[in-house]
Symmetry: C2
Subunit: 347 residues, 2 copies
């Protein structure tokens, strides 16, 4: 970028059907037939056309193609995630890609950062490019604005959270059941003072996990202590802060349920600093890398992001292929993985 001289504009046009036709001495429509494997071209001509295609390294223009085609398909989909750099989202993305690859479908991706405005912008950008379908991890409170896209033929499937105000398929995990299981698991180790550390209530998954926590306590006859419930932290630093405050407060918990992976990491950081990592039990929702190598290793309710991504992609492609039927919410089960931190007994 330093030495800007701009001598030669990038020349060299890409070959078109006409260039191939000229070289193979046929009409350009014949080339189109060969490219699309349509019948009605003699083997001799087809071979001539094919060598011309190879020699020129002709590649049909996808834009022109989808413009003219009757179905208008672009063989591309949009993937809207909370943050592509988050390991959960990255696993989902990889699974979606693996599902799209054999179909020749390319994946556009973008990060929403829990920003509703950003969700709308990215949807616009993807629909302007006429993506055949959208895989969405909703950031806004209502997806009703997507109704029009749905009617215009864009398939939509939601991931991780159900769509609201829009009838589409969703793929989510067992948030409530998983959170309840985690809570009961801590209670089974003798804990009565189990804290809840979770995302802000506006996020549906956070809401469901909180409900799971509450219902488990109620089922056990343990009252929910508001002083042990923190809803709000979203990243490692803030979770660390609130966990520290909780643990150094007047009536600290003996166990923590951390309702999201970054919050789990923040809580563990706090426990370490306070030297409590072997005395206070922890169960996290969402597995995370290295959880098994920490000391103590971290007990988690693991989601299966690869399965979620795969299933969501399959549902999307089915819709793109014209499969009808009422939209359904599909639930991928979570699994409790005992590693040590969740089995620390109450003092």
């Amino acid at each position: 970028m330093a030495d800007v001289t701009d001598t030669s504009p990038p020349s060299g046009r890409r070959p078109t059907l006409r260039d191939v036709a000229a070289r193979a001495q046929v009409s350009f429509k014949t080339v189109s037939r060969v490219v699309n494997n349509e019948p009605g071209v003699s083997p001799v001509l087809a071979a001539r056309v094919r060598t011309a295609i190879d020699e020129l390294r002709f590649e049909p223009n996808a834009g022109a193609r989808s413009l003219r085609r009757s179905d208008g398909r672009t063989a591309s989909i949009g993937l809207l995630l909370e943050d592509v750099a988050n390991p959960y989202a990255a696993s989902v993305q990889r699974a979606v890609e693996d599902e799209a690859r054999p179909r020749g479908v390319m994946v556009f991706s973008g990060s929403l950062d829990e920003d509703p405005t950003r969700e709308r912008e990215l949807v616009r950008a993807f629909t302007a490019r006429r993506a055949d379908g959208l895989l969405l991890m909703p950031a806004s409170a209502d997806q009703g604005y997507l109704e029009r896209e749905l009617r215009a033929g864009t398939a939509i499937v939601c991931i991780d959270r159900e769509a609201r105000g829009l009838a589409v398929d969703s793929v989510i995990t067992t948030n409530m059941a998983g959170a309840a299981e985690a809570t009961r698991h801590l209670a089974a180790a003798g804990h009565r003072r189990i804290a809840y550390l979770g995302d802000r209530p506006g996020i549906p998954t956070a809401e469901q996990r909180y409900q799971g926590y509450r219902s488990a306590l109620e089922g056990l006859g343990i009252p929910v202590d508001p002083a042990l419930v923190v809803q709000g932290p979203h990243d490692v630093a803030s979770a660390d802060g609130t966990a520290t405050a909780l643990l150094t407060g007047p009536t600290p918990p003996t166990a923590l349920f951390a309702a999201q992976n970054l919050i789990t990491i923040g809580a563990i950081t706090a426990l370490r600093r306070l030297g409590l990592e072997r005395r206070v039990a922890v169960v996290g929702f969402d597995d995370f890398p290295m959880a098994d190598l920490l000391a103590p290793a971290v007990t988690v309710v693991a989601q299966d992001p690869a399965a979620i991504g795969r299933l969501a992609a399959k549902l999307l492609f089915a819709r793109i292929d014209g499969v009808a039927g009422t939209p359904t919410t599909h639930v991928v089960p979570s699994t409790l993985i005992r590693r040590g931190s969740g089995e620390i007994p109450a003092a």
Copy 2:
């Protein structure tokens, strides 16, 4: 997907320039002028057109647009990574996205899995969609086949590894210097038997890191012991295996230099199992999540994937904007982060 009834085909065409024109009672060319902010439309008409656009929620067809436009731009780029689920790649992707967003450019991404065939397939898929540029983490031994794309006007920048057989900008890290620094750091703690655990030699970064290891040892007058050099493992499991073999062998090392993040994790897993994590020193190349929460915390030579992604994207957009100048390799420095595992002294 269970109940396939396919009652209503998704109807509802998307509005076009003509639909907007009809509603605003102007010619469709006038609408085009408004959409593209061209001069020559009276404010009254422009306002009428704009309300029609809003009412119909008109969105110009990106495909048709780039087809007709003189520059042929699609406002999209392709990002070809080793594996989108790898944390290093995920950080790069996020940085690229952040750089592309304000320009209104969308990002296609795909995983190569070190497969040269896959590299070619994805390049084809992206160029068929007429991506304006390609950001590539090379998987194949030679990128000469991209010469034609370059001439056809597709900008290309390589990430993590320099392109071979192709004159393009590259953004890489200080592989050799970083590896040498890691090696010297271990030697400074008194180690003489420092093992090298790295990727297979075909990968340029692995090659450079190995050279850094060798040159550091030579500079210190320590002979390179072939029995302490392992080149090959690429994932956690195989690294665990080779590290275990090395550590339980006849003349085990007292320190390990792990030349890649997955290999570092495998080595640490092995040390844990053998109960050696506080006796054998480890320095890894590439930072990884949780490295600071392990016990002992892991000393690493950290790359800066966000900076690499940002710079690569900036270079790519500069090329897309027509900036000429000879292609350059840009080097983003790595940093040694002392956390404990690398400061364990020799027995």
